[in-house]
């Protein structure tokens, strides 16, 4: 709904939809203070337990040439900070999406490979869910990062290390039958 007036004092008087039971934070290139204000009002409203859900925590979305735009994780963090509570995050590395896939398609983790380009989302989720993990180097993470995690003594960092890597997923073609 459109917010009346130009200032937070006005926004805070706008009527709230009584049926709202959750605030869902996703990628929003139209994110604004006014929306953040409304989210906070729903989350703090007396008499209802309002869920706070985030689609993912990615910090940034890479563009060509090394530039990047802010990711959904920034917007989730803004809402969490204002509301002083943690969001339930649906996306990788959390296992929720794997559970969705596994229940729908009867997947055996021991016979499934997770292929991804990000260590802290794709590979971490795959490792946490007992999948074999395969890093492709056409995206965000580099082999240097992998070696850094491998050489560390930290168990958390060890869980970011993939079982295998390829330069590109096209490298898998020769392994598949004619």
């Amino acid at each position: 709904a459109a917010l009346p007036g130009p200032a937070p004092a006005d926004w805070a008087q706008a009527p709230l939809d009584p049926a709202v039971r959750a605030v869902l934070v996703g990628f929003d290139e139209h994110f604004s203070y006014a929306k953040l204000c409304q989210a906070l009002r729903y989350l703090l409203r007396d008499g209802t337990d309002c869920l706070l859900v985030g689609t993912n925590r990615d910090h940034r979305l890479p563009l060509e040439g090394g530039a990047a735009i802010p990711g959904t994780g920034c917007l989730v963090k803004a809402v969490e900070t204002a509301a002083q509570r943690d969001a339930f995050i649906v996306g990788k590395p959390n296992r929720y999406m794997f559970d969705c896939v596994a229940s729908e398609f009867n997947i055996d983790p021991a016979r499934t490979i997770m292929v991804g380009d990000r260590l802290d989302t794709d590979i971490l989720m795959g490792n946490s869910c007992g999948l074999t993990t395969l890093l492709t180097l056409t995206g965000v993470s580099t082999l240097d990062e992998v070696r850094g995690h491998q050489d560390s003594n930290c168990p958390t960092r060890q869980s970011l290390v993939p079982d295998y890597y390829v330069d590109s997923i096209s490298d898998l073609l020769p392994a598949l039958g004619e």
Partner: protein, 305 residues
């Protein structure tokens, strides 16, 4: 010394604590006023302090208003005799901080270096303080090579947008570009009991996108106290800090070596102070005030007639 003990200040205790004090530092929102209403008795307290020869200075994390606007606000709400030079807002102190870091001791004399520009996420009050400090603001569009953006300043910005967040991140790709925040407050109370998001929530977005940690000027960090000492030379051992928020005002007092008084007309509840007192964590204990009052009007009997 050991942990503060959150004692109610009243009766003889009032005179014991206020008598030796040379001055008091006051937070503003929730202490002197709530929204457009002065806390009953607060203007009289300031008047009595003045007559007792005790200094009253003001230290606020609110980065919306310039000190000139704050001076008018004091007067409009019935507090007389407060001048802009007595008021230390996070807007003013952030501008002073940036002036120090970007212009140093007098700027690049002869080198043509203006110190670079500042990209401000905030309203006109904050932008004005930055200009008054001799700094130039980044507008829309690209920084020229001659005047790169050397700092991103995150303040209370009710016009914050994704586009501005992206623009800030662009500037922060340069590791020489500073990331500064006026204050860490996650939210502020509105007069009807609701909350509005604070600078802290916007700073969290910028930090997450840029991978950088902001330098935070406001309470509980001590930079604003340095500004106060530089201008007025206060003695911490003879100065009391009065505030309503444990995580900023009381911790600020502790960090600056001041005895602290919590007033209950604002954000924090007595139960929260007591919970910090009962906690095992050292960080929690630093947020326990030495004393508390229901309102700063309760301090009046502690001053001479």
């Amino acid at each position: 010394g050991g942990m503060a003990s959150c004692r109610r200040l009243s009766g003889a205790g009032l005179r014991e604590v206020l008598g030796p004090a040379q001055g008091l530092l006051f937070d503003c929102d929730g202490v002197l006023w709530a929204g457009e209403r002065a806390v009953p008795g607060a203007p009289e307290l300031l008047e009595r302090l003045r007559r007792s020869g005790k200094a009253a200075l003001f230290v606020s994390n609110n980065s919306r208003r310039s000190v000139a606007e704050l001076e008018r606000r004091f007067s409009r709400l019935g507090f007389h005799g407060v001048r802009a030079e007595h008021v230390f807002s996070s807007a003013l102190c952030s501008a002073l901080f940036l002036r120090q870091r970007l212009l140093g001791g007098g700027g690049g004399v002869g080198s043509g270096d203006s110190g670079g520009r500042v990209f401000v996420l905030g309203g006109e009050g904050l932008r004005g303080e930055v200009r008054d400090a001799g700094l130039r603001l980044a507008g829309e569009g690209e920084a020229t090579p001659a005047e790169p953006v050397r700092a991103v300043l995150v303040g209370y910005d009710d016009q914050f947008t994704f586009a501005k967040l992206a623009q800030a991140c662009g500037y922060l790709r340069d590791p020489q570009c500073l990331l500064v925040a006026t204050d860490p407050d996650p939210w502020h109370p509105l007069s009807d009991g609701q909350r509005t998001p604070g600078t802290g929530s916007l700073t969290a977005a910028v930090e997450t996108a840029s991978g950088r940690k902001a330098l935070v000027v406001g309470k509980p960090n001590t930079y604003m106290f340095d500004c106060i000492v530089e201008r007025f030379g206060v003695d911490p051992s003879r100065t009391l800090m009065v505030g309503d928020r444990l995580e900023t005002d009381i911790l600020f007092g502790k960090n600056c070596g001041l005895s602290t008084i919590l007033t209950l007309t604002g954000v924090s509840r007595l139960e929260e102070a007591q919970a910090y007192m009962a906690s095992d964590s050292a960080a929690a204990k630093d947020m326990v005030p030495n004393y508390y009052v229901d309102s700063i009007a309760d301090l009046i009997p502690g001053l001479d007639e």
